[in-house]
Symmetry: D2
Subunit: 427 residues, 4 copies
């Protein structure tokens, strides 16, 4: 790829990533490919893996076996060994920096991870028809992060080749799908000098051509995993000797839903996963639940989180079990800044084939870009979360999801135009 990638090159790059979907903290091939491209650019700084992450803040990191499996898979798929070595232990992601004289520091955040979903092989599913379907069965870029990474590269080139004055950073962030990666990036220090942050997502039920300049309505979220440890016993011969971890898990599940609704706004609770026990005739020694709480604000999420931990610990005590609760992912709420969204809107209005331009929308879900937005806003900067529409045949997180590749060009134009205008206007 050249210093200024053509759209054809970018599409080809996206399809390469699409063939190699990798879930959270396992984006070895993906990161290696991105870094490989970035090294061909004339950058002022390039940070890789551990250099962009506060190691203590990574959440939901898989165990070594799992990491090794994906590491080897990336190597076999042809990822550069010298780059891979820098990512060992699940330190994925990268940061490209351009320094172009005096001016504000503007940042773009894209995410890069994939999902544990088996991709469709129907003939009318474009990746299947055109030969770039996932090569790792059971995993898929079903939320467009392959396009996001590609857009990040494209915007970098566009800004690099413009008369942008200031500093421009592109964050290729890992582990968004588990809301497990942004906090480690936010705490790395690389955000601390950022004056303006744009985050981008394609689709979200907006068709190709539509742009949303500033998304709100992020639900703050916290993912928990509770592992109950009791004592096993033969259920027929000695039932009283057991401390029943399955009952503790069931009691926790039921009573988590007993956490009161809140008059300050919307809250959520879900026990999405549960499992426990070894045999019908053994009182379960171990059981787990995994779930999440959300809130319309960070405070509401924390209200739910506090109460959830009380419920879980009490359920364990009820059945003389121990319990370990871990937070597996987390993201605060956030709001897009009007001043920044206005600039994105003005720029979008002048991009060919973009229409309509929507000022704002409610997400109604969670995204850990909010950690980055909050970090910038806490330091006095501005942030906005931008949606560039794309015709997607299946919904996000379904096996027939795909992006209209035309979106890549539109997103590059909207975002690189916005970066330039921000530097010019300093809103």
């Amino acid at each position: 790829m050249s210093q200024q990638a053509s759209i054809e090159e970018l599409v080809s790059f996206r399809r390469d990533l699409h063939r190699h979907p990798e879930p959270a903290w396992r984006e070895f091939y993906t990161t290696a490919r991105i870094v490989d491209e970035l090294e061909t650019r004339d950058l002022d700084a390039l940070y890789v893996g551990p250099e962009i992450l506060d190691a203590d803040e990574r959440m939901a990191v898989p165990d070594d076996d799992e990491l090794s499996t994906w590491f080897e898979r990336a190597r076999e798929a042809g990822a550069r060994a010298d780059i891979l070595d820098r990512l060992a232990g699940g330190y994925t992601g990268a940061l490209a920096v351009l320094e172009r004289g005096e001016g504000p520091t503007v940042a773009l955040r894209v995410d890069i991870d994939a999902l544990p979903i088996t991709e469709s092989d129907d003939d009318d599913h474009v990746p299947a028809a055109e030969g770039f379907r996932s090569e790792t069965e059971g995993f898929m870029h079903a939320c467009g992060h392959d396009a996001h990474a590609t857009i990040g590269l494209g915007v970098l080139d566009a800004v690099a080749n413009s008369d942008f004055q200031g500093t421009f950073k592109v964050f290729f962030q890992p582990s968004e799908e588990l809301v497990a990666g942004a906090k480690a990036v936010a705490e790395s220090g690389h955000l601390d000098d950022v004056d303006y942050l744009l985050a981008v997502h394609v689709g979200l039920d907006h068709p190709t051509g539509e742009v949303v300049c500033g998304v709100d309505g992020f639900l703050a979220v916290s993912h928990f995993r509770a592992e109950f440890a009791g004592a096993p016993a033969h259920a027929g011969a000695k039932p009283e000797a057991g401390n029943n971890a399955n009952l503790a898990a069931a009691a926790a599940t039921q009573n988590l839903y007993g956490i009161s609704r809140h008059s300050d706004g919307a809250t959520r609770v879900n026990v999405g996963l549960m499992g426990g026990g070894t045999a019908t005739n053994i009182i379960a020694e171990e059981s787990f639940i995994e779930g999440e709480v959300r809130g319309e604000t960070t405070e509401l999420m924390e209200y739910m989180e506090d109460r959830a931990h009380t419920v879980i610990e009490s359920a364990a005590a009820m059945y003389d079990c121990d319990v370990e609760i871990t937070v597996e992912g987390k993201a605060p709420s956030a709001r897009s800044d009007d001043a920044l969204a206005t600039i994105v809107g003005d720029v979008s209005d002048r991009v060919d084939d973009v229409s309509p331009v929507l000022r704002s929308d409610e997400l109604g879900g969670s995204e850990d870009a909010t950690y980055l937005m909050q970090r910038v806003q806490d330091n006095g900067g501005l942030a906005s979360y931008v949606v560039v529409g794309t015709d997607h045949p299946g919904g996000h997180h379904t096996r027939t999801f795909d992006v209209d590749e035309e979106t890549i060009r539109l997103a590059i134009d909207v975002l690189s135009g916005s970066v330039n205008r921000i530097a010019a206007d300093k809103p």
Copy 2:
């Protein structure tokens, strides 16, 4: 009544008690009438109310208002004021002692309290037809303790007028229905010199003429009351401000049944009573559950009790409520001694109109006579729980329960005969 009451006098006495049923710790009229009779006898000692009770061991004592209501009611019904004054504060029951030279100390225990059941006024219910139905609406001698008290008096007279050698004690014990009275009697010291104890119950589905010499299968029991205290809140406007005592009570109730069955024998758990809250739109500040656990042995009951307290406390913690657990009644398990039952059997075989004589039976319920039995047995003595059958039209604890008064005579013959034989044989 004379020193040796006739059967007619005893029947009349029983009917007087039947007209004035009094529940646990409120047996003011009943105790006064018994003591009034006892004072006409030539006793070697007579202990009343507080003199037979360890005050700290009384359980489920009603509040002062409740005690006062019944105290006044007894006074209005004609109970002797001088005796009543000795019972103030709910110290009911009495103990009569005969000392007749050298010989073993033999004791008989009868109980005297009634139940909160409304007595039938049907024409075929004898107390209604013959004019001695309960005069206190809502309360009733529905378990025959009016007959028990009468039998106690009759046996005392019979032994007094026999050539019995030794010491004979008749315990008129309060508060059996709540298994709340025997422990205070057991801890009073009056049992400590008892070598042989007989307890008696009429009926229990055995017809008139049948005698069971030694009952086993007492389930140890513990009654608990748990009062949950949370925080109220308007359920529409501010639900998060509430600590929901009703939910704590519901969670406790559900999970009490999650206490494992035990391989050592039968256990039971029941939340018999529950109540809480003030209005549909207020999150309940207060809620309670009242129930019991049982075990085939005292150890099994204690296993259930320990676990129950853990469950209740954890349920409270789950909803940020406080909880106070009180034990409202308790009785251990016990077994009748063969040697004593054999004597009762031998005597019964020779009593006219008694047949058949059953060696043993399983109660399958609870009785706090077991505290007294255990006390005697722990001191090296022997104890047996004797059933004297009676034709009872309705079941125990139902509104049509009644006893066949012929049973009074048979019980006196069986028990006084046994007391004499015990003193003679010293088994």
Copy 3:
């Protein structure tokens, strides 16, 4: 009282009602006093009790004993027997109608019932200090409905003595506190020709002088009572014979909170009251829960209600119990119409001592005036719910609640002025 009651007369009337607080469907004295006053006016129509109620739509009507008790109490307090006779069976409330030529039909709704709260007897509680504290211990006008009824009378007089053109109706509605009365009024037909409806409430944390012209944010609500009927059994001797109504109630309670939150808006659920069982050693034959569900919209409330009924019925089935669910109160959501609120605002701005005038506020609770508002709006009319502030020492529904009687005058001026302006403007 004269055709145009003075403020002194109105205050005296309010204090009379305050001394005789009556809860839902038991407003016998209250209605009789109102009707007594209304009969002295020159009305075009006066409807009493059953004439303003669709009998089938009354909810939460007490049993005959309870109704009789209050009926007699009203008679003893001096209520006119001829009026009382018209209210027999708990048909309370009244409707006064003025017909003053051509013009729109305007209505005012006030509510008249009291609460089961014991009134403060502190010296600094004005009703206690000035001798008009509740004479019925345990009941209290703790939400200002005594003032509401008085205001209704005052507005009627003011409009009657103005040059109002059209028809004016004042509804004295029973049973608001249980949201159990408005539906029967709404279905009576008397609302069907109403073009404009004002409902009024004093206080709600707004001080004397403050007026809110149009309240929104009513949560739709449904009160339920579920009575579980199982089978009793001795918990020790025969536990398997019981169908445990307490366990069914506990399971229902726990799982009602498992009804999912809704993405369309706020919902609520509360089991405010529960109770069941007869004794610790009996498996409960009967148990009940009483509670409510709410929704930000009527649809959301109905979603909760549907799910709640499923949960309750399933919990009963789980323990082989029967269950009867009754709806004890209900109110839809509603919105105040801007056009009407604007008129109230314009009028209020010119009333002496009124300031500030707030355009709108969120209630965050429930009110069955919404049934009447919805009825009028469904017929193409307009409705607004007006708050006239009052300094109240204690919160609503607390024992120290009281109203600043100055509010009565302000409310009459605001509301009668608005009625006249509505007739003039026909918004």
Copy 4:
């Protein structure tokens, strides 16, 4: 192996089976090896796989993939292909028949399946030390069924070479560990002419030399699996669209423990396994619980089973889920016949190195031999369950379990002696 296998040959055979442990319905290698041996004997009939099973009564049969995996594994381990072909579809087990003239029909039942337990590889674990540790990682003969099958062969040889008169059948029964195989054997018809049945188990905490002649105290058992099917939904964006299968499973679990204890005897309930859901942010579409109920009698087990199904179905209804309940295993209660146990006792008393001989013992667990015992007893025959003690270092169903091979000889002597005596005495 010869017509009369030597102890060395039998030990070698047992070790071969031990190296190839196979769980329920997957005993392909095991059955093939047994049949291979049986074919070398002079039998009057030999039935294989489907010939001894009522196909409709097999429970907990694995799916085709699972069966194929084990089928291939058996082939690779060297099992005879011609025999394997007869077992396709999971029809395992065999029946050997000797017909020796006039006389009663006597049967011996041994079971042949292994467990999903990883065998110890410690040096002091004999199979590891002596090279016959499980070759299939994760599976193990941890309950001695390798010895049982060997004993079956040895007793067959011993009886064949005796002067036994009558018919002798040895059942090599599959799938005991899941109590899933005996019913299909019982319904096959091959038991219908059996007059006397012996079943055998080694160990059970009895040391080498000890024999228990007739075991009682079998708990009847029923294994259930309940699969809840709801509807998935995004837990943040659209929670109300989900029908929460995890909540249904949790409610079922909690309330299964609410099934009342029974006054007729011991019962058990356990939810041993649970699992559900796909992701923390998705409301679970599918969830399952797997567990068991037991009873001291078959009736008590059926009481628990009936109630359990009601609870599970109601929990599903509560959350608008469907549920499918399957019975995965089942066994009735049973009692050993005194007359038969007496013969075993008499014979055992004369076997060298056998001592002590216990008349009876309580199992306190479950065993599907009871189906076979019940079948024989229902037809007027006699049955007894015999334990031949063995020193076992680890407990049954643990990774260090092993048998003292000396037990094989003792068991053969005790059982073949008993078979001969039975035929002689016809008790």
